[in-house]
């Protein structure tokens, strides 16, 4: 079904004191958010994105009907909160996985560090937070892309992607509202780190030997888990455990 602004707004009710903007086709909801006034709370949704993207501007395939793509602009972030960003980005993955399991109860969702939502080995949901800093004013733009029932993906996607359930149709408007609420709610609760134990249960690579690609080099080691700031813990050849706050797992030894 189509996304309806009215429906979503009424679903949100007082739980989200911000504007909701829906477009049928945009380049990307993230772009919409970046162009908007960074001081007001808003949510942007699109039926279809022509240039949907994730981290490092990698493209996120965003066809209409079969997915959900939105960006929530959280204004007035304290500059000091930036240091806690890792908890927020990991918290998002955990909370969104929880939410999706309500809609797809038979599916068990995992999380690949930092915040890829996984169904078995396929990525079904992508999350990217883009912070905008100008002087002392900081805003966080939370972008979420979900593959709900997309059946066919283009050949040039180099990661393993999939959708939650190609056969099940769920109420996208309700999901959109719940998603926006989840993000808004997390904003005020993430710092407690209560979600961490749930996140750890979902973390898919624990115990596996992986190769982590960093800016300047690659590191290989065993994933031990995450610390209380959301950083990845890897045990190296010499037994030492190092923490990482950036990097991408490019190789996994199963």
């Amino acid at each position: 079904m189509k996304l309806k602004q009215q429906t979503i707004s009424s679903e949100l009710g007082k739980d989200f004191p911000g504007n909701v903007v829906i477009e049928s086709v945009v380049s990307s909801t993230q772009e919409m958010a970046k162009q908007a006034d960074q001081t007001s709370l808003q949510a942007f949704l699109a039926e279809r994105q022509t240039s949907g993207y994730g981290k490092k501007a990698r493209s996120f395939y965003s066809p209409s009907e079969t997915g959900l793509y939105l960006s929530v602009l959280l204004p007035n972030i304290e500059k000091g909160e930036m240091n806690k960003a890792g908890l927020f980005t990991t918290g998002l993955a955990d909370q969104i996985a929880n939410l999706l399991e309500e809609y797809y109860p038979e599916k068990k969702l995992g999380v690949k560090w930092v915040n890829d939502v996984m169904l078995d080995d396929a990525k079904v949901g992508g999350i990217l937070v883009e912070a905008q800093i100008q002087g002392n004013s900081v805003s966080w733009i939370v972008g979420v892309g979900l593959n709900l029932c997309t059946a066919d993906f283009p050949d040039d996607i180099d990661r393993t992607v999939g959708s939650l359930d190609s056969k099940k149709i769920i109420d996208r408007n309700k999901l959109a509202a719940d998603l926006i609420k989840t993000i808004w709610h997390l904003k005020s609760t993430y710092q407690s780190g209560d979600f961490l134990s749930d996140y750890r249960k979902r973390l898919v690579l624990t115990g596996k030997t992986v190769t982590l690609k960093l800016a300047q080099e690659n590191i290989t080691g065993i994933v031990k888990g995450i610390n209380n700031d959301g950083q990845l813990l890897i045990e190296l050849d010499n037994g030492e455990i190092e923490t990482f706050n950036e990097g991408e797992v490019i190789k996994v030894q199963y």
Partner: protein, 1146 residues
């Protein structure tokens, strides 16, 4: 008086502060912003910035601001020092108006002496002579002539508009005057547009003598004798001393009394100096300096009077005699002599331009009779260009002038100032000059003595070694990735039972060679019943095992006891082969020096070298005159036995070398390379007959001893028995066998050779033996137990020396070739040991992991080339072609066809072109044509085609490049290896004598916490400790903190590896909106602007990432990007400074 403000900076400010503190007075300092680190501000009780916003020097001239500070702090008096406002009557007036005592003369006196004309008038009024001159422009030559006749020649004609030394002409007599006058007029008109001329008397070689005056406010004026300041460079004083040697007591009294007369005449108060120019017959007043002077120190030293203290007390109303207790003038005495040298950062080799920078090391002298008045000088101080370049005034005091000069020379030599240039080398030249030492230097002395400007550049060994250690510690030893730390080997040679006290000569081959000549030496060898040994430990052993990397440093302890420990050896192979090239290229050592040092320490042992017949120790075909020169010099410097070989066994390439060696009177060993298997019935080329014939040719060519060089270890025991036996039977020359134990049969081969009558065999000490090296000396010795030919050896000494080598070897493990076991497959491939691992690496780097395939192809290639001798450089041809064939899918069958369209490797082309000589049996013609593709091949000895080198011309060329006359050895090295030698030379300039470092430090540098003792010369050791290494800073440097002989030294070293992605940057200042800091720990992903870009508010500047949050930082105002500190891909910490923006002015 309770509090004094010092309106000055640097050393004089400190001087005044000290005097104040001695008097119990509080002090206030003032400083310009650029001087905020000035020591004077930290020494004073209070310090305040003045002249904000003004240029640095102008700040100290800001009278109102200074007075403001004085009033604000309640200072009662101001001491102006020298320069700046010291002679400024307006300032003195302002002080008076504000009720502040100006420590100096009265305003009136400043006025009088501030004007050259009034000063002169006052001087004349008080009976002083001034330099005669006409005060108005001269109208005619007659007028000048009259003047000259009145006052005497020489005279000086000065252009009115000239100045600073320009437009001045000296005239000696009437004759001279005629031409000079006209010329002066026209030149003045041309240069200055105005032909007005003045005339004054010219003083020839005058001395600049000045008299120190001290006067109180009660009418007492006295002098404190004189100072001689004649040593000037372009009218700037360089060295001052007191008293002058040019004045006898009578003249001294005359001049000093005149000065007092003048000052009394104006009722002078406080301190001042009257300056004169003094000739043999007269003395002339120049000016008065109504202030304290820079060189007041020397007067203080000879009289004991503290002038600055006196100034302050005089200004407070003290009486010279009643309060300061100065004696009456006639009772004032002086004692000894004092000299002052102003140490500045002026670089005498750069036209005395002041150097700036950071002082890295600062060590100052001291001791008996030494006084140092310093400015801002300490390790870490930054010398800026804003103020004068004076670092410190070094003053000495001693009984005689001679002693004083000695002391000053000692003091200047004791200074250790690194980081900025100083004028110390120049002042040392002046002090050592006999004219100065006689006290006869006049004002033109420096400008007319060019030898003062010649500097002898002694290298700063300590700094050079430090630079080397720092560089290798941070960046590693070129090309070698550092492995685990090798424990610094405190390897010592154990005590041995040597015949140290025996006066008996050691009669061995060396003895016979030296006393009876080469022929007699060979006879002696032939007569020996026992087999003789050559020890290759110091050459072929390490060349085979660890790429020739052994350093001279590690050879010397053994060389010292060699003769007595191993007197029965035939020779020690210590030179040639690859050692020449490697010494220069990798070890930073001079191979000639190694030869001479070993020769000196091993006078009773034959020293042997390996020489390639046509290439000496190089890789090109040199002209014959180069070969001759090289051999002559090597023989002169110590080589006794020259093993001469050719990689194709072509005797024609060995003839000249053999001839040249024989002519030196040393021993020529003509050598055959062994290849193939003479025992095998399939061997058709390299049969016993082949070798017998070859040996004959070598003997005919003049070889005095026959060498058999089995580079690949192919000579099987029975083959050795056959070969040696036949050679001994046929030829009446000694036979010297050299093998490598690569195939594992070395000792067995030597045993058989011994039984066949071999005269000498090559062995290495056990710790450096086997696999690709020579067989073990001890093992061979023991293998002949019971045999009548067992060599004579003190096996205990051998063991002790061996233990030493065993301790040395691990230091070189980074260069080991990785071959740990015998390689019997080499019997099949015939690959020399040195090539085995190199070829493996070469193949691997080209993606050919299957070495078996390479080995198989190697054999194929050998057959294709006609089965050639394989040793450097011919072995490289085979290896290169083998790899080439594999890469291009060539086989023996298709190479002739497919090779037509391929470009063969250079070594292969050169081989077929005849560059290596003519192989036995000739070239395979078809393959040759295919490879050469029409290029002409030569059939003669390549060396015969090379043009003789003009050594004189080369020597000149080299002299220009290195800036001094080169030695004969250096010229030869330059001819053999021009680029390698020049690189070595440059490195030597930079790093000095790195050969004195221990091997561990040389190759691996140091680790934090490590201490090394560096023995620079006998009795001269430096203790070097590395305390810590910093991270890489914003400029890409690491800072190493050493302690040199206990003293902390910081050394910045450029990190060329940049293994640290983390870079040290300053933190952003949160109160400064132009400083944009990293929002959180993370990585810089994108930098969207560059230095100098103009940005508008809202423009994106930089993107960072952490924990999958991508942060874009935007400009919060319109402005320009001043500097970008961040770079893409670097990891940075929260608040690290990323970008410095400058806001647009509104």
């Amino acid at each position: 008086m309770k509090k004094v403000l010092i309106a000055n900076r640097g050393e004089i400010a400190i001087r005044i502060i000290r005097a104040c503190h001695e008097l119990g007075l509080k002090t206030v300092a003032v400083y310009a912003k650029e001087d905020e680190y000035g020591v004077h501000r930290f020494r004073a009780d209070e310090a305040y910035q003045i002249g904000a916003g003004k240029k640095p020097i102008d700040a100290y001239l800001d009278m109102d601001d200074i007075i403001r500070v004085a009033k604000q702090t309640g200072a009662d008096a101001i001491h102006p020092g020298y320069g700046f406002l010291a002679e400024n009557e307006e300032f003195a007036e302002k002080c008076a108006q504000n009720g502040i005592t100006f420590i100096g003369p009265t305003v009136e006196q400043l006025k009088i002496f501030g004007d050259k004309i009034t000063a002169k008038e006052v001087a004349e009024k008080n009976g002083l002579h001034t330099i005669p001159g006409i005060n108005e422009p001269v109208q005619s030559m007659e007028e000048m002539k009259e003047f000259a006749h009145t006052h005497g020649y020489p005279i000086m004609i000065k252009a009115a508009m000239g100045g600073g030394g320009r437009g001045m002409r000296i005239v000696k007599d009437d004759e001279d005057l005629k031409t000079a006058y006209d010329r002066a007029r026209s030149e003045a008109k041309a240069s200055f547009g105005d032909d007005e001329l003045y005339v004054e008397k010219y003083l020839e070689n005058p001395k600049h003598i000045e008299v120190q005056i001290l006067a109180d406010e009660h009418g007492h004026v006295m002098h404190l004798f004189e100072r001689d300041c004649s040593v000037q460079r372009r009218n700037q004083k360089v060295i001052e001393f007191a008293p002058s040697l040019a004045l006898d007591d009578q003249r001294r009294k005359e001049i000093c009394d005149a000065a007092v007369r003048l000052m009394k005449g104006v009722h002078y108060q406080n301190a001042g100096t009257v300056e004169f120019l003094v000739t043999k017959d007269n003395f002339y007043f120049i000016e008065v300096n109504p202030r304290i002077q820079v060189e007041h120190t020397v007067t203080e030293l000879i009289t004991g009077v503290d002038i600055v203290r006196s100034q302050i007390r005089i200004a407070a109303g003290a009486d010279l005699h009643k309060d300061l207790h100065l004696p009456a003038q006639d009772d004032l005495t002086m004692s000894g002599y004092a000299i002052q040298c102003r140490v500045t950062t002026e670089d005498p080799e750069n036209n005395f331009m002041p150097d700036t920078g950071r002082i890295l090391t600062y060590r100052s002298p001291g001791g008996n009779g030494v006084r140092l008045d310093g400015g801002n000088t300490y390790a870490g101080a930054v010398v800026t260009p804003y103020f004068d370049s004076l670092l410190v005034k070094a003053c000495v005091h001693a009984r005689t002038f001679h002693n004083t000069v000695d002391k000053m020379i000692r003091v200047l030599n004791e200074f250790q100032i690194r980081g900025v240039k100083t004028n110390i080398p120049f002042m040392l030249n002046v002090l050592k000059n006999p004219v100065f030492q006689k006290g006869e230097a006049h004002t033109a002395f420096i400008d007319h003595t060019p030898s003062l400007f010649k500097f002898d550049h002694k290298p700063d060994t300590q700094q050079q070694l430090l630079n080397y250690v720092g560089d290798v510690t941070v960046n590693g030893f070129n090309g070698v990735k550092r492995q685990d730390q090798v424990q610094p080997a405190n390897v010592k040679l154990a005590e041995m039972a040597l015949d140290a006290d025996s006066a008996l000569p050691i009669v061995n081959a060396k003895y016979v060679l030296d006393h009876q000549g080469a022929d007699a030496a060979m006879d002696w060898v032939k007569k020996q019943k026992l087999v003789l040994l050559t020890d290759t430990s110091m050459r072929d052993a390490h060349q085979s095992l660890f790429a020739t990397r052994m350093r001279t440093h590690d050879m010397l302890p053994v060389a010292d006891i060699y003769d007595r420990a191993l007197p029965n050896l035939f020779s020690a192979e210590t030179w040639g082969g690859a050692t020449f090239d490697v010494a220069y290229r990798f070890l930073g050592e001079d191979p000639w020096k190694r030869l001479k040092m070993l020769r000196q320490r091993m006078p009773h042992t034959l020293l042997q070298m390996l020489l390639r017949g046509s290439n000496a120790v190089g890789y090109q075909n040199y002209p014959d005159n180069v070969l001759k020169k090289f051999i002559d010099k090597s023989a002169e410097d110590g080589v006794d036995v020259f093993r001469i070989f050719d990689s194709l066994n072509w005797v024609e390439q060995m003839q000249k070398s053999i001839e040249y060696v024989r002519n030196t009177g040393k021993i020529a060993e003509g050598t055959m390379c062994y290849t193939g298997d003479l025992l095998s019935p399939d061997e058709t080329k390299y049969t016993l007959d082949y070798y017998k014939k070859l040996a004959g040719e070598l003997v005919d060519a003049g070889a005095q001893i026959l060498g058999i060089k089995d580079m690949a270890g192919l000579l099987k025991p029975d083959a050795a028995y056959e070969l040696v036996g036949e050679l001994k039977a046929k030829y009446d020359v000694p036979v010297h066998l050299h093998t490598h134990d690569t195939t594992g049969n070395g000792v067995a081969t030597y045993d058989q050779a011994t039984r066949a009558g071999v005269d000498v065999v090559d062995v290495a000490m056990s710790a450096l033996s086997s696999t690709t090296s020579q067989p073990s000396m001890s093992s061979f010795y023991y293998s002949l137990e019971g045999n009548e030919r067992q060599p004579e050896l003190d096996i205990d000494n051998v063991e002790k020396i061996n233990q030493y080598w065993a301790g040395i070897r691990p230091l070189y493990k980074d260069f080991a070739n990785g071959i740990n076991a015998p390689l019997p497959d080499i019997y099949e491939t015939e690959m020399p040991g040195g090539q085995y691992s190199n070829l493996q690496q070469q193949a691997k780097s080209l993606g050919l992991d299957d070495f078996e395939q390479v080995k198989a192809m190697y054999r194929v290639v050998n057959r294709l080339l006609g089965d050639i001798v394989k040793v450097t450089p011919s072995s490289k041809v085979v290896g290169d072609l083998a790899i080439f064939m594999i890469q291009n899918n060539l086989t023996a069958d298709n190479i002739l066809e497919r090779g037509k369209t391929l470009d063969f490797p250079e070594s292969v082309v050169n081989f077929f072109a005849g560059d290596l000589g003519q192989p036995y049996g000739g070239f395979p013609k078809e393959l040759q044509a295919v490879v050469l593709k029409g290029q002409k091949a030569i059939t003669v000895r390549p060396g015969s085609l090379a043009k003789p080198v003009d050594f004189d011309q080369v020597a000149k060329e080299l002299e220009n490049k290195i800036g001094r006359e080169p030695s004969e050895e250096e010229v030869i090295s330059y001819v053999l290896y021009p680029d390698v030698f020049m690189d070595y030379f440059k490195r030597h300039q930079q790093y000095g004598r790195i050969s004195v470092l221990d091997t561990n430090t040389f190759y691996q540098g140091m680790r934090p916490g490590e201490t090394v003792h560096i023995h620079i010369a006998p009795g001269k050791t430096e203790i070097l400790r590395l305390d810590s290494i910093s991270d890489v800073d914003v400029d890409g440097n690491r800072h190493l903190f050493f302690a040199v002989d206990g003293e902390q030294v910081e050394l910045p070293v450029e990190d060329q590896i940049h293994t640290d992605a983390k870079v040290k940057v300053p933190k952003a200042d949160p109160s400064n909106p132009g400083q944009i800091g990293m929002p959180l720990n993370g990585t810089v992903v994108e930098v969207l602007v560059k230095d100098g870009d103009h940005v508008k508010k809202g423009d994106s500047l930089i993107v960072t990432e952490a924990m999958k949050m991508e942060t874009t930082i935007k400009a919060s105002f319109d402005g320009t990007v001043e500097k970008i500190y961040a770079s893409e891909g670097t990891v940075m910490d929260s608040q690290d400074l990323l970008i410095q923006l400058k806001a647009d002015e509104k």
